[in-house]
């Protein structure tokens, strides 16, 4: 396989594949970050995570339509508005869901799985009824399209760079929020000992709701970003759910750093394998490897050893 390419080509291959892997990595981090907060910090298995993402995508679609029709002059900047709105919409829905559903299930993690699966079906059907069964096309402003040529073979897609920057920004924000802010302290306190946190005056219900909302909001932003590279339809969200959970679990669930490391290793493996194998087999082998490693090391990549 390698013999078919010249040495110069091979260099270009690795450069481009590396970059493709980085884009995939950013996408995975975006997908997994919200879930890492919800699952890792709160222990809630949110099977409707993909549907929260798609809500963000639909919000973006509406923004693009609205700006095209009403504010064509501001169209180039609409994407930022869309992302903000996506965050608000998904976050608000998330808080609503937490308040009506999740709140009652904190002690039954497996039941959150079933309930949120039910929620995902309801959301899918709602999207279908409201937005129609077909995929919608999101029109992107021109500056997000195209690519920057580096050499005559290597070209860097602009939206890829955009996704990477966005991912970095969100990750840093979340990390600061979780580890530096007072609110993050409260979240971690609630995670570690709900009763005690409540006893020292933390409003655990509020913390829970905000945490869940934040996770869903990030999913919304991810969905918004995904309109650049993926499809937006009522069932698109389901495509991501298994990958996302595997990333979070592989990373060790409770650790943001673990999630990032796991997204990195999975994306690089898949991207490299994809070049040498068929897409289907690359996916199978990547997933199998992850599952096999998880069987051997169930605690994931990063975890603290504590007395049980």
């Amino acid at each position: 396989m390698l013999g078919d390419y010249s040495l110069g080509d091979l260099g270009a291959i690795f450069a481009m594949q590396g970059f493709a892997g980085l884009i995939l990595f950013s996408v995975y981090v975006l997908m997994a970050l919200g879930l890492a907060i919800i699952f890792g910090q709160m222990g809630v298995i949110n099977m409707a995570h993909g549907e929260f993402m798609i809500l963000g995508a639909y919000v973006t679609y509406f923004c693009s339509e609205f700006f095209q029709a009403q504010l064509p002059s501001l169209f180039p900047a609409y994407f930022f508005v869309a992302m903000a709105l996506a965050f608000v919409a998904s976050g608000a829905l998330g808080m609503l869901v937490e308040w009506t559903l999740i709140k009652r299930l904190y002690k039954r993690p497996l039941d959150t799985l079933l309930a949120t699966w039910g929620l995902s079906l309801i959301l899918q059907q709602t999207y279908r009824s409201v937005f129609g069964p077909r995929e919608v096309g999101v029109v992107l402003p021109d500056w997000l399209l195209g690519s920057l040529p580096v050499t005559d073979v290597i070209e860097v897609p602009i939206n890829g760079v955009f996704v990477m920057c966005l991912t970095t920004l969100i990750t840093v924000t979340v990390a600061l929020l979780m580890y530096k802010s007072r609110w993050g302290q409260q979240v971690r306190a609630v995670v570690q000992n709900r009763v005690m946190a409540g006893a020292v005056g933390i409003d655990t219900e509020k913390v829970d709701r905000l945490t869940f909302g934040l996770g869903c909001g990030i999913a919304g932003v991810a969905g918004s970003a995904f309109t650049m590279i993926g499809s937006t339809g009522p069932t698109s969200g389901q495509l991501y759910i298994v990958d996302t959970f595997l990333i979070v679990v592989f990373g060790g669930a409770t650790s943001l750093l673990g999630t990032i490391a796991s997204a990195f290793s999975i994306s690089q493996t898949q991207s490299t394998l994809e070049f040498f194998l068929s897409g289907s087999m690359a996916k199978v082998i990547t997933l199998l490897t992850v599952v096999a490693i998880l069987m051997l090391r169930p605690q994931g990549l990063f975890t603290l050893k504590v007395r049980r």
């Binding site: 390419y5 080509d9 270009a12 291959i13 481009m16 594949q17 970059f19 493709a20 884009i23 995939l24 996408v27 059907q125 279908r128 129609g132 069964p133 077909r134 995929e135 919608v136 096309g137 999101v138 029109v139 992107l140 399209l145 195209g146 690519s147 040529p149 073979v153 070209e155 897609p157 602009i158 939206n159 890829g160 650049m228 590279i229 993926g230 499809s231 937006t232 339809g233 009522p234 069932t235 698109s236 495509l239 898949q270 991207s271 994809e274 070049f275 068929s278 897409g279 289907s280 690359a282 996916k283």
Partner: protein
């Protein structure tokens, strides 16, 4: 018929068909038009189908939910439109068509279950339905066992033929050979790169394309072939390979949501479809809705029908469709093929002078539909349609500009010799 004798039918089917042939002249003596009189139900329905003196029931069987709802909605709409139009003209043999719609829910066993329900419980005279090959394969044994009639609208991989199915879409050779010949002739293409979703239709289509490129044309070759799981959304790796191999033609049969991701990423990676020739056999106007015209403008699609076809039949059809389903709806190849189903069935029933499935199966051969939106089509003895193939150039507005039309009707050949 001779070709089919060698390559076509499973033996029991052939026997039935031959028996039916003997009855054909008899059927031909029946009155061909039914506008004037309404023949007695007992005469036109000897097998206990759901036919009354005023009504005849057919089934519509598509996915209204699940992942395939995206694609199948258009078919449902087209079939309902055709039925409404037929009823407006007085129905079939003086009977209005009533339809029962069932949801296959994108799940193949459900399709089989619902097909059986339509045939056994509802006794429908015909079923307009199915979209994916998998759903058709699931339904086929049921249709054959209970002797129903299925009008199947999707372009598909061929390798199948049944007395109980009329295939109103194209089989693979009709769609593919013409397009490859065209691109070799027009663009001087020498190298091809295949990219498809990983299931039977793309694989079979690509196999036919490959055989044609390697064995039937000179100086052309396939330089790559890649398959991705259904629903795959990351195509950067294959795009890198495209950049390295620089094929003259990218030949794609990616389906569903993957399409959207593929074209968006292709564009983002700087592959300009104005310069790089890309031919797809899986993108219709329906898909462009989701992909976005900007992202795919410049690609060639090879279909038998485009919404932009410039003929009076089509103008009328498009107008009627939009009137019924809204100005924003688009009409793709399969939607049009689905529209043909009820019409061809109506004409066949009237030719046979009967709703009986056996008589329809025989009478189908030679049915001509001159007012089809795609233009004149005719039913072949193998139950597929003679049709023309067109090549459309995708425009930014989501429509295709037809740049080529095969001069003659192409004969359907579901079991192509030398391509298997």
């Amino acid at each position: 018929m001779s070709r089919d004798d060698k390559t076509g039918f499973h033996s029991p089917l052939r026997r039935k068909l031959l028996m039916g042939m003997a009855a054909a002249p008899f059927a031909g003596m029946m009155p061909k038009t039914a506008f004037a009189q309404t023949p007695a139900t007992a005469a036109v329905n000897t097998t206990g189908l759901a036919v009354t003196d005023t009504e005849v029931t057919v089934g519509i069987l598509h996915s209204a939910t699940g992942t395939m709802a995206i694609s199948e909605t258009g078919s449902i709409q087209a079939e309902k439109l055709a039925i409404a139009q037929i009823n407006e003209m007085g129905g079939v043999l003086g009977r209005k068509i009533k339809f029962i719609q069932e949801d296959g829910a994108s799940d193949w066993p459900t399709f089989a279950e619902k097909a059986k329900k339509l045939l056994v419980q509802d006794k429908v005279a015909a079923i307009m339905g199915c979209w994916t090959s998998a759903s058709r394969k699931a339904v086929l044994p049921v249709i054959e066992q209970y002797n129903g009639m299925l009008y199947y609208p999707t372009f598909y991989e061929g390798l199948e033929q049944s007395k109980n199915v009329i295939y109103t879409g194209q089989e693979a050779t009709q769609q593919i050979l013409e397009s490859i010949n065209w691109v070799v002739k027009e663009k001087g293409a020498k190298t091809f790169y295949f990219i498809g979703s990983d299931y039977i239709w793309p694989r079979t289509s690509n196999k036919i394309a490959r055989k044609h490129i390697e064995n039937h044309l000179t100086g052309t070759k396939v330089v790559g072939e890649e398959y991705f799981p259904l629903g795959h959304t990351q195509f950067n790796s294959v795009i890198n390979k495209l950049k390295l191999t620089k094929p003259d033609v990218i030949f794609t049969d990616v389906v569903g949501g993957s399409n959207v991701a593929f074209y968006k990423q292709l564009k983002a990676a700087g592959i300009n479809l104005e310069k790089q020739t890309l031919i797809t056999i899986s993108v219709t106007e329906d898909e462009i809705d989701g992909i976005g015209g900007d992202n795919i403008a410049g690609a060639y699609s090879c279909m038998k029908y485009f919404q932009s076809l410039d003929n009076p039949n089509n103008k009328e059809f498009v107008a009627a469709f939009k009137k019924m389903w809204g100005e924003k709806t688009v009409i793709g190849d399969v939607t049009q093929a689905a529209y043909l189903g009820p019409w061809i069935w109506k004409m066949t029933v009237e030719k046979a002078g009967s709703f009986d499935v056996d008589k329809i199966a025989v009478a189908s051969e030679g049915i001509e539909f001159t007012k089809a939106p795609e233009g004149y089509v005719k039913v072949h003895a193998n139950h597929h349609l003679w049709s023309k193939t067109r090549i459309g150039l995708a425009q930014k507005d989501g429509q295709f500009k037809v740049v080529y039309e095969s001069p003659e009707l192409i004969e359907p050949n579901p079991f192509p010799k030398g391509y298997q």
